[in-house]
């Protein structure tokens, strides 16, 4: 099926088997290997991308269902020599060991911070009527869809806090 997706600001047209996930379209058809395949079942978050600005699991999205959509992958967020401030914070805080989950962590964190700004509550939000504080508990809860098997969680939290503090 002919499918056109705007990937990192550029319209890309592909002829796809309907079974192709957005993740496989990005990695295998467009050569964008930054988004990672961890579990391929929506459990690990390594494939997280921004779909029309919202974080989703690319492995649980059919590419043909994204026809007409805008996708941002890690390649669209920063590049070698031109790192996004959140990527710099991950480096500064040593927020990775093997690095396999990192692109998903970065995309997820950027989507997550937008959700907080928009006032979306989480499981640890006490007052559903008040602005949401960007506490460590809120960040941890909201990032629970991204697994880090090296267990760099304290550093990932620190990197997100550094970036969010600077961006505020």
């Amino acid at each position: 099926m002919s499918t056109t997706i705007e990937v990192n600001g550029q319209a890309r047209t592909l002829d796809l088997d309907p079974r192709t996930t957005l993740l496989d379209a990005l990695r295998e058809h467009l050569g964008l290997k930054g988004s990672k395949k961890g579990c391929d079942h929506g459990q690990c978050g390594a494939c997280t991308v921004l779909l029309n600005g919202v974080r989703v699991n690319a492995c649980l999205s059919l590419a043909v269902a994204c026809d007409g959509d805008k996708v941002t992958t890690i390649e669209g967020i920063g590049q070698p020599g031109n790192l996004h401030p959140l990527q710099k914070a991950f480096v500064t805080e040593d927020a990775l060991q093997c690095g396999y989950c990192t692109p998903g962590q970065i995309c997820s964190a950027l989507g997550m911070l937008e959700e907080v700004r928009a006032g979306w509550p989480s499981q640890v939000t006490d007052d559903l009527g008040a602005p949401i504080p960007l506490s460590a508990a809120e960040i941890r809860e909201r990032m629970s869809g991204n697994i880090c098997r090296c267990s760099a969680y304290p550093q990932i939290l620190a990197a997100i806090e550094d970036y969010a503090g600077d961006a505020a």
Partner: protein, 316 residues
């Protein structure tokens, strides 16, 4: 995945006709559960009708003082909606207790109701499962049944319904609106949407193939406090061992049965002046545990007592 064809629905009437007229066809919206199961060959649709772009994502007040939530509204949109947060906090609490941020951004209201069990043997295609292959047997009866049902189960199936959202909807007396292939509409209480397993655990709802959930309608919120509490094996992004939703005097239990469980016996006891403990004991009198999940009877009972006592204190 098995090969399938795909079409994006133009309107709801065309979508139901397309699914009803194509053997093996299914609707797809967020796809977070269906695609997962298709990758495991547990679901094998031959044709997918994508309803996610249909204009059914609105959330609006009803003339009765309630709220109508379009079936394509995502879980995130519903949980964050100002009216839901202000008047149905039990629904926000239930939704944000389920899945991950990424999943809630894709998962829809209609799809959440129709998601399938997380029973390990439903997922393990090397093992018997009456829900996956009718007549093959239930592996959970003598197997890993920590997550299994304690209420309303049958010798054919002890699986639980995994939705958190649906537990809150049942406590809130919500109804679903359904579009039939004929173009007619019907509505039914969410409490009547899901079936107990009986001898046919593979038949999970009273929605026929080709019928499309178009909306969930909430009546005006009941008087009294609302709360959702969930117990699970890790703090976040895990299915429940048990959950309790309370909205005023209305109580529903989650992860304990093949459907979201309305605690009618507990409610009746409370109305008759019983204590929270007596009310939960009345509800759980018929509960039955298995080797690894008998603890859930005590667990859900204590969770219910805790919420009901807190609400009573808040009133005092």
């Amino acid at each position: 995945m098995k090969p399938f064809t795909y079409e994006r629905a133009v309107d709801a009437a065309q979508a139901v006709r397309a699914v009803a007229s194509t053997p093996g066809a299914r609707f797809i919206a967020g796809g977070t559960n269906l695609l997962d199961l298709m990758k495991l060959y547990i679901e094998q649709p031959t044709h997918l009708v994508d309803v996610s772009r249909l204009p059914l994502a609105g959330i609006a007040a009803t003339s009765e003082g309630g709220l109508r939530i379009g079936a394509m509204a995502t879980n995130s949109q519903v949980a964050a909606h100002p009216q839901v947060r202000a008047h149905y906090p039990v629904l926000t609490g239930a939704i944000v207790a389920g899945g991950s941020g990424q999943l809630r951004n894709k998962a829809t209201t209609g799809g959440n109701l129709l998601q399938r069990t997380r029973c390990a043997y439903f997922y393990d295609t090397t093992k018997p499962c009456n829900k996956r292959i009718p007549g093959s047997g239930c592996s959970a009866l003598e197997g890993l049944n920590r997550n299994s049902a304690i209420l309303g189960a049958s010798p054919a199936c002890i699986a639980t319904h995994p939705s958190d959202m649906a537990v809150a909807l049942v406590a809130l007396d919500a109804t679903v609106e359904v579009l039939l292939a004929s173009g007619a509409q019907r509505s039914l209480p969410v409490a009547d949407l899901h079936r107990l397993p009986g001898d046919t655990p593979h038949v999970e709802t009273d929605i026929a193939p080709g019928e499309l959930i178009t909306a969930v309608v909430l009546p005006p919120p009941p008087k009294g406090a609302q709360a959702y509490r969930k117990a699970r094996d890790r703090a976040s992004f895990a299915g429940g061992l048990a959950s309790v939703a309370v909205a005023g005097g209305q109580v529903a239990l989650g992860a304990v049965a093949h459907k979201p469980w309305r605690a009618s016996a507990a409610e009746a006891a409370l109305r008759a002046g019983a204590s929270p403990r007596e009310a939960m004991d009345a509800e759980l009198a018929a509960a039955e545990g298995h080797e690894r999940n008998a603890f859930k009877i005590d667990l859900v009972g204590r969770m219910g007592v805790a919420i009901l006592s807190q609400n009573a204190e808040d009133r005092a």
